[in-house]
Amino acid sequence: METTERKTTILLLDDEPIVCKRLKPYLEKNGYEVETFTDSSKAMGRIEERDFDIVITDLKMEGIDGMTFLTRVKEKSPSTQVIVITGFATMETAKQSFQKGVFDFVAKPFKLSEIHEIVRRAEKKLRQEAASM
């Protein structure tokens, strides 16, 4: 897979450093190219520079919140699959984000394997969309 295709790129944004620290090596080990941010404005700057295949973002954050961020992501690159991380109470807002074309959401607390599973599904969808084009 790695030989025939370029690695799937993932941007991870969560203001909890531990989430980034744990997910980055885990996803990299599973064959993805991962960039992590704990500061949403920096992440915002980065997506203006390049497109990612998959964006994973928290909803509740200081500064620019997840909803604004993912709206911008979808504007710039509609093909990017967005996965939303959310606390339980923001489930309703998570549902709202479906309307913005979000791929799926995970509720905190989650397991590494859960994230991996969702990322795999998003990847599959990406490939299908690429094939149909």
């Binding site: 909890e16 531990i18 989430v19 744990r22 997910l23 090596p25 885990y26 080990k29 606390g87 339980f88 109470a89 309703e92 549902k95 905190k108 607390p109 989650f110 397991k111 590494l112 394997s113």
Partner: protein, 496 residues
């Protein structure tokens, strides 16, 4: 409101019991009495004037007789028959006078006096007549004449004196009338004051004190029996039922305020806890995922314990957030059977393992309820779990739904478990109140249920008997087409 009927069906004898009727009765009676006393007074005065007039005539009578006797004495002393002629004139006068006074004489001196008097007068006149004819008198007749004359004077004298006595007596009576009147007035006034004081002022004071007490938040009713039909008793009964309603509302208000306050507080804490919990989970998870091979079985067990406990804490947080959610639920028309059946499926294994019989008694034609699918599931899940935990060994759980009223559908969850102590009953909906051991219950189940039911516009009631079981009744609003927000249904059941 209890059976307090304001002013309804006031029948004839019902009237007499009111204070108004009593005051009216007393007033009428005293008015009649005053009229009567006045009449008696007038009559008495008229009587007196008549008596004075009659007394005058009695005195005239006495004078006439005395005149007759004077002529008698002259005749007997000087023998001049001219005296007898004069005497006869007076005698005739006297006869006419006593005839008109006949009745009065009998009244004053006793029956038969008049006849006796008239007879004496006749006999006297007879002798005077004879003597006039003969121009002389026998000594025997003279003796008789003297005796009769004396008797006549005696009678006339006593007539006059008796009459005077009578008049004095009547005067005395007339003078007493105002005193009798005064006495009766005093009695009536005392009665009136007593009535007003006992039946009006005293209860009013009690009411005043009670209102002050209610103001301070003590809603106990006005003590005493107030079963009578008068205005004050009715007022007090109305007041008591108002105090009762107030107390019930107040308690409900306190309960919901308490829950709301705890809600905002817990929501804050829960939000803050969620991230660290997530981090603990992730770290422990990484330990297992990445270093599984390097870990000894003991360490692996430790890590699993960490994950398990973090998940448990996360569950609690989830419950807390559930309970404190303030967002409005999007309600739609739901089939209660489906809700109950899907909820039952979640606890089916637990119920079977515990050897509990589960019965569902929901009529097919039950109208739909207004609800939020996932929340309704949560409501009944909490009730089922409590029921399962309350049943120690073998028992049953029954879910029964009926149309309670035009507006509500009542769902009873009945268990045959150990029941709830009366003193616990008022606490069970309070967050964190649990009788279960540490680690076995958080005490959030029922408070979540309570606030979710409230958000459905319904309410929840509980009845329980120690050793026999409990019954939780959830009142849910009946679905009315205009209340439904269409199109939400699929979203709800999809996520539930």
């Amino acid at each position: 409101m209890q059976n307090f009927c304001a002013g309804s069906s006031v029948t004839g004898d019902g009237m007499a019991r009111t204070i108004r009727a009593k005051i009216l009765a007393i007033t009428v009676v005293s008015l009649l009495f005053t009229c009567m006393v006045s009449l008696i007074y007038v009559w008495q005065i008229m009587n007196l004037s008549r008596m004075l007039f009659n007394a005058q005539r009695f005195e005239d009578l006495l004078n006439d007789i005395l005149e007759v006797r004077r002529y008698e004495k002259n005749f007997l002393l000087y023998g001049d028959p001219k005296n007898l002629t004069e005497s006869l004139v007076y005698l005739k006068d006297t006869r006419i006078t006593i005839k008109t006074l006949a009745k009065d004489i009998d009244r004053v001196m006793g029956k038969g006096t008049y006849v006796k008097f008239a007879n004496l007068l006749e006999k006297y006149s007879f002798i005077v007549d004879n003597s006039l004819k003969n121009k002389s008198i026998t000594s025997e007749d003279a003796e008789k004449l003297r005796t009769y004359g004396k008797k006549l004077v005696d009678i006339a004298n006593s007539l006059v004196s008796r009459k005077r006595k009578l008049i004095r007596k009547t005067f005395g009576h007339t003078a007493a009338v105002p005193f009798v009147f005064l006495g009766v007035f005093v009695i009536v006034a005392t009665l009136m004051v007593q009535l007003v004081f006992q039946r009006l002022l005293k209860p009013l004071k009690v009411i005043e004190d009670t209102i002050e007490r209610v103001g301070r938040g003590d809603f106990s009713p006005i003590p005493g029996e107030w079963s009578e039909e008068d205005e004050i008793s009715r007022l007090i009964r109305a007041f008591n039922s108002m105090a009762h309603e107030l107390q019930v509302n107040q308690e409900a208000l306190i309960q919901s305020r308490k829950i709301a306050a705890i809600g905002t507080f817990t929501a804050g804490i829960a939000h803050e806890l969620n991230n660290p919990l997530n981090n603990i989970c992730l770290c422990a998870d990484t330990l297992i995922e990445e270093y599984a091979d390097e870990l000894s079985p003991e360490v692996r067990e430790l890590v699993f314990d960490i994950i398990q406990q973090a998940e448990r804490a996360a569950d609690i947080v989830k419950n807390l957030l559930d309970f404190s959610r303030t967002d409005r639920l999007v309600l739609s028309c739901l089939d209660l059977r489906e809700v109950i059946q899907k909820t039952y499926r979640l606890v089916k294994n637990q119920i079977m393992l515990a050897g509990i019989r589960f019965e569902m008694d929901i009529p097919d034609d039950l109208p739909k309820v207004l609800g939020h699918f996932r929340s309704l599931q949560q409501i009944f899940l909490n009730l089922f779990l409590n029921a399962i935990q309350a049943i120690e060994s073998h028992g049953s759980i029954t879910v029964r739904a009926v149309e309670d009223s035009n507006e509500f559908i009542r769902v009873d969850v009945i268990d045959t478990g150990k029941g709830i102590k009366p003193e616990d009953l008022k606490h069970i909906f309070t967050p964190f109140y649990t009788t279960k051991g540490v680690g076995r219950g958080t005490g959030l189940g029922l408070s979540v249920t309570y606030s979710l039911v409230k958000k459905h516009g319904g309410h929840i009631e509980v009845e329980s008997e120690i050793g026999r079981g409990s019954k939780f009744s959830v009142y849910l609003r009946r679905c009315k087409p205009e209340l439904c927000e269409n199109g939400e249904r699929s979203v709800n059941s999809g996520s539930g």
